[in-house]
């Protein structure tokens, strides 16, 4: 089961290392991680997606709170929350498929960041599964490169 934890931490050097090493020691594999600044200077917010059950999530929360830099852990797995993921995708462009590709991108909510004679660079911010289906649809044209952030989640 995919568990989504939002962890608020003080932005000290080494805090990422301590969080990652906690997951590692306890045998949890991090599926995705997004770390960024928050509304408060000096604090970071991590959205961590990890494959574990309810018991595992409870243990993780308790262990995270043992780290002095951790201020708050919020489990959003079953909460009413919004999840978004950013993907930048470079797709192979051929003159004969240009129009079709642009229409497909538009229909699936992707924005064109750059177009050259060789590729289209697209951007999409969506839920994970919508991005997955965009990627699947684009793969027929040839995906040259893709970069995705981990998910960010926020309670409604």
């Amino acid at each position: 089961m995919l568990t989504i934890l939002v962890v608020h931490v003080e932005n000290h050097p080494g805090v990422l290392n301590r969080v990652a090493s906690l997951f590692r020691r306890r045998g949890f594999n991090i599926e995705s991680l997004a770390v960024g600044r928050t509304e408060k200077p000096g604090f970071s917010r991590m959205t961590i997606v990890v494959d574990t059950d309810e018991g595992g999530a409870t243990r993780l929360e308790a262990n995270l709170y043992k780290l002095v830099e951790v201020l708050q852990v919020d489990n959003l797995t079953s909460a009413a929350a919004l999840c978004r993921d950013l993907a930048i995708i470079k797709v192979n462009l051929k003159p004969e498929s240009r129009r079709e590709l642009l229409e497909l991108a538009r229909d699936l909510g992707a924005r064109v960041l750059r177009e050259t004679s060789e590729y289209l660079m697209l951007e999409a911010t969506e839920t994970e599964d919508k991005i997955d289906s965009l990627v699947e649809r684009l793969s027929g044209y040839g995906i040259l490169e893709m970069a995705r952030t981990g998910r960010v989640a926020m309670r409604y």
Copy 2:
């Protein structure tokens, strides 16, 4: 100086821990980190922003290559590359400022994800400094919560 490294890794358990601990041991503080899947199953792509000079970046690259899971390190600091950052921002909403706030969001390229009687939830994908100025403009209305991914970067 902010250095942007794109690191391609095999998606093994513990790889994040090893990368984070390398930065920690060498005394580099990670400014932002985005880890996500790539076009190849089983591989992850990390965009790491770190405050260091050219010499530091060269040492970091050499040390990253010592990790068996690291396949490629690409320094995009002075490269022609696109950088994007995703922010989800919950802004306090008052009836009298609703129209102004919606106009401001539209002018600054933010998209409305949800509107309630209490708040507006906005999403923006932009370069870091554009998001910074959006945040600054919104802060007058009261930012209730903000989540940002680290930067993702890709060569043109």
